[in-house]
């Protein structure tokens, strides 16, 4: 199977994702520039962290106007997996592919540290490698990771089991301790913590591997491989 990693001007985790997929998950992966207009040939799309367009104005607000976004929207609509991490999550909310938005952390500061997450839904195509309720350690590194949505949206998120990861010790003020959510169809996940930074013991944890392994399992079990 083949992953696409999108790269926007100002993205800075695209190589981290690329390396994680290539060296650790050992699947095909290619960087796709923001100017591209097609995602043909890919089985899953990863949107990296960083500061697209400097995160000026609002995180993700300018990136979502990029030429690749219509292709991304179509890709998401087709039901294939889309994972946005950190700035990728912010871009997905700005692009309307996920509900809610990400505000400044309550501390109003950037925070980089390990957080313990609880797997709140082990049925999603991004989390099937984990057990329901499993505790995992992933690093966060963000200034705008405070997930906000209105009460009605939150009710829907809960009712549809869209909340995949929750913080055990809310670091940023997110509604309902949300660390990662999917869209209603379940094929678009946005999460603030960085699974790609936790794929090797030498970097402190390999708890993040499961996210990518889940995607691979999902694609391969469906037997549909776009090449």
């Amino acid at each position: 199977m083949k992953f696409a990693v999108l790269a926007f001007p100002g993205s800075n985790c695209e190589m981290d994702l690329y390396n994680a997929i290539k060296d650790i998950i050992k699947e095909d992966v290619e960087l796709v520039p923001y100017k591209s207009q097609s995602l043909a040939g890919f089985d899953a799309v990863l949107i990296p962290g960083g500061f697209s367009y400097g995160d000026y104005l609002r995180s993700g607000a300018i990136a979502r106007l990029s030429p690749i976004i219509p292709a991304l929207q179509a890709f998401a609509k087709s039901g294939k997996p889309v994972l946005g991490i950190c700035n990728g999550f912010q871009i997905l909310t700005e692009a309307g592919l996920l509900p809610g938005s990400l505000q400044k952390n309550v501390s109003a500061k950037f925070i980089c540290k390990d957080e313990t997450l609880v797997v709140n839904n082990d049925h999603s195509m991004f989390s099937s490698a984990y057990q329901q309720g499993q505790l995992i350690t992933l690093p966060i590194a963000h200034g705008d990771g405070n997930y906000y949505c209105d009460q009605e949206t939150l009710k829907e998120l809960v009712a549809n089991n869209q909340i995949v990861f929750k913080y055990t010790n809310n670091p940023n003020g997110s509604v309902d301790n949300i660390a990662g959510i999917t869209n209603q169809q379940g094929n678009v996940l946005g999460m603030m913590p960085h699974p790609e930074r936790a794929v090797e013991d030498i970097l402190g944890s390999d708890d993040g591997k499961g996210v990518f392994q889940s995607i691979v399992k999902h694609i391969k079990s469906r037997g549909v491989i776009y090449e």
Partner: protein, 87 residues
């Protein structure tokens, strides 16, 4: 040329951590009569002449919806100031 002043503010229901931080700082500095602080963005767009008022309104609304404001969290309003721009 028209000068368009756009104000983007957080919706009422939303707690803005930055405004909160400013408010806390003011309290610490002893400005106890400051009861609330809101913090938003203020844009000035210089727009070339040649559009009707209706077209200009349409354009500004589009720009705000697409880029300047996030409808989940923010409201906006704007004023068109034709005299300022002339200066």
């Amino acid at each position: 040329m028209a000068l368009v002043k756009v104000y983007v503010n957080y919706k009422k229901s939303i707690l803005n951590p930055e405004a909160q931080a400013v408010n806390n700082a003011l309290q610490r500095l002893g400005y106890e009569d400051i009861e609330d602080v809101k913090l938003g963005k203020y844009f000035e767009l210089t727009v070339a002449d040649g559009k009707s008022k209706a077209d200009l309104d349409a354009e500004i609304n589009e720009i705000c919806d697409k880029l300047l404001a996030n409808y989940n969290m923010e409201n906006y309003h704007y004023e068109i100031d034709e005299t300022e721009a002339a200066k």
